[in-house]
Symmetry: C2
Subunit: 393 residues, 2 copies
């Protein structure tokens, strides 16, 4: 943190988010109503709403005569601007780009997808991504002049050095907002955690203040994952937290693309599963999954995955373990099988995590990228919230 400017900016942002959360709950409130609900002074609130109006995050929705109370001037009613994009989430995959746009209160107001040939080079993917954003804004009538943050998730290894700079440059050149770049699987983990938060807390806090400790693993071409601890995405010291795929599950196993032997990825990624089951694709795997030979392969995957997740759950004590990606989508028995292994490995008598399949669709990365943007404000999520836990050891 640098200087008191940082603190003041932080407080202003906390106030803003408070006002926006109130306006998401119910649009069309007067400043007096917002002041009463927020606990902010009239003076402070007036500064906040002026700023939000100037930025295009909120609008005056009426000054209609029917709302006049008594003989004075009508009270202006304020609401979120349903057409003002404040956060942009982009997920640049191997064969498509997904985009989602959220308003100031974090609701998705526009989205889209564009496919391209697999493994198209970075400059082409970036051009497709920026082009898709522009098209969505144009076709869905979204104003992007007031963007507060941009999150860009990328599939596979995050491009290092020059390529990474290309990602930042492509979006920075087009939009005057800060850009976050991360792995799209980790963004998906954050989205699943947020999804949970909304479901569980609906009506409780009145906003989607995501919470919870979540392990997320994704079984696809590779095996990746992400961790959410106390509502925040864990990066790790080197930015590679969540590498469930490279935990050793079979010391005598095959060589992994990482150079080690017997990694979870050599057992639980799509390709080795199809090969072991002797099928050509996930559709065939799904259809034939109850045949004994195929079922045995699936049981082995569930067992290996369950053991890795059980160890991680003992150490991290998550509320939820989410298993996503095309493989468990085709074969849900992988989730139930892994859940049984995890249950058996937890400490008897202590609460066990909920183990569930991923609930979001292909837009999970874009949604998580948006979540990552507004999570940059720590004030609303974790102060002051001391935990006073118990422990066995």
């Amino acid at each position: 943190m640098s200087g008191s400017g940082g603190v003041h900016a932080l407080v202003r942002r906390a106030h803003e988010e408070r006002v926006l959360a109130i306006l998401r709950e119910r649009g069309g409130l007067s400043r007096a109503q917002i002041a009463a609900r927020s606990g902010l002074s009239r003076t402070t609130l007036s500064e906040i709403t002026s700023e939000l109006l100037a930025r295009g995050a909120i609008v005056v929705v009426n000054t209609d005569a029917r709302d006049r109370a008594g003989s004075g001037r009508p009270a202006e009613l304020l609401a979120l601007d349903p057409r003002s994009g404040q956060f942009l989430g982009v997920d640049i995959g191997h064969n498509r780009v997904r985009v989602a746009v959220a308003d100031a209160a974090h609701e998705i107001i526009a989205s889209g997808v564009e496919e391209y040939r697999p493994a198209r080079p970075w400059p082409h993917r970036l051009a497709a991504a920026v082009g898709l954003v522009d098209r969505i804004a144009r076709e869905q009538g979204i104003n992007l002049a007031a963007l507060q943050g941009i999150g860009v998730g990328v599939a596979g290894p995050v491009p290092a050095g020059g390529s990474r700079a290309d990602v930042l440059a492509a979006f920075s050149a087009r939009f005057p907002a800060p850009v976050l770049v991360d792995n799209n699987t980790r963004f998906a983990a954050l989205a699943e955690a947020g999804h949970l938060g909304r479901n569980r807390r609906a009506g409780e806090t009145g906003n989607d203040a995501e919470a919870g400790d979540v392990l997320y693993v994704r079984l696809a071409d590779g095996v990746g994952g992400g961790l959410v601890v106390a509502g925040r995405l864990v990066s790790g010291a080197g930015g590679v937290a969540g590498e469930f795929g490279h935990v050793k599950v079979d010391p005598a196993g095959g060589v992994c693309r990482c150079g080690k032997r017997g990694c979870l990825e050599t057992v639980a990624a799509v390709r080795p599963v199809l090969a072991a089951a002797g099928v050509d694709n996930l559709g065939e795997l799904a259809v034939r999954r109850h045949e004994p030979h195929v079922r045995a392969v699936i049981d082995d995957v569930a067992e290996a995955l369950g053991r890795v997740l059980a160890d991680a759950a003992l150490i991290l004590n998550p509320e939820v373990v989410v298993i996503g990606g095309p493989l468990p989508f085709a074969v849900p028995e992988i989730v139930t099988g892994a859940a049984a292994v995890i249950r058996a490995e937890m400490i008897p008598g202590e609460a066990h995590p909920l183990v569930r399949p991923a609930q979001l669709g292909d837009d999970d990365g874009a949604r998580g990228a948006i979540t990552a943007c507004f999570r940059q404000s720590p004030l609303l999520t974790d102060y002051p919230n001391p935990r006073v836990p118990g422990s066995l050891s």
Copy 2:
């Protein structure tokens, strides 16, 4: 967070911590000098220093004539009060209680220990703890009237229900400050992370703004641990994060006190190691540790510990892995052996964590309890600090 009062309190605290950090760097500064270094306005600073003076956190150190500049009134010089305890850390173990007191700038200004018979009941331990605090204050001339926070670490299972309430009640009745209770092993993890922070950042930030992602495991009567992620202690959803001791390392192993079979604790706690080595105590183990039979036992412990920590390190991507407790203190080869296993399991070509023995002594729990208290202010530690990592999967 509740209402704007919460935000204002937070900002005031951030300002305070800024001023205190400056005064720890160099005591005896005028308000003008503090204003220049902090970037705070004279008005804001005056409010802050008045509050700190009233609370007894800082004192006027001179108004000596030799400091008069020109002909006006001398500028009051302010400094930390070296006798004002602001944070209290207590570690209530099986056979002793440790206490440490820190000033407003987080430096330890007094400490002490009192032993009692092992497994003394809770009311006696609590009375001993509060009595020790009073004695330290009296004998070392520490004023505890202005305590800002109290952290109490307890060995073994954190007492639940009534016993837990007893811990809170014993300290709340005696001191008008918020009380945090947690497992003392987790507090030790936080202390080791802070220790690292101070070492690495000395001269860089000028304060002990702890940082880093740390795995901490402790091999003692049991095997416990703690996780620090982005500078914060991980509690987990149920408050039991860090249970390295109950990860399965041998499916055919012995029954653990937790009810499962083959937990790391059945292999790497003090008692099973002494039994397997055929020695009576840790002193004998240390002396005979190079005998082939004993060495083989130690190698097995290092291998099992290393595998558990390697899996955790792949998932959490820590900067440092710390191995503490009386067992590795007696047999440092456990640390070097586990380090070799961890190195071999990391993803080739990516940075590996530093694996090191614990560096703090028996006061680690009390120190960590203090750290946990002042960590309740999130402002100074992690805003805005987005990470923009790369990833393999």
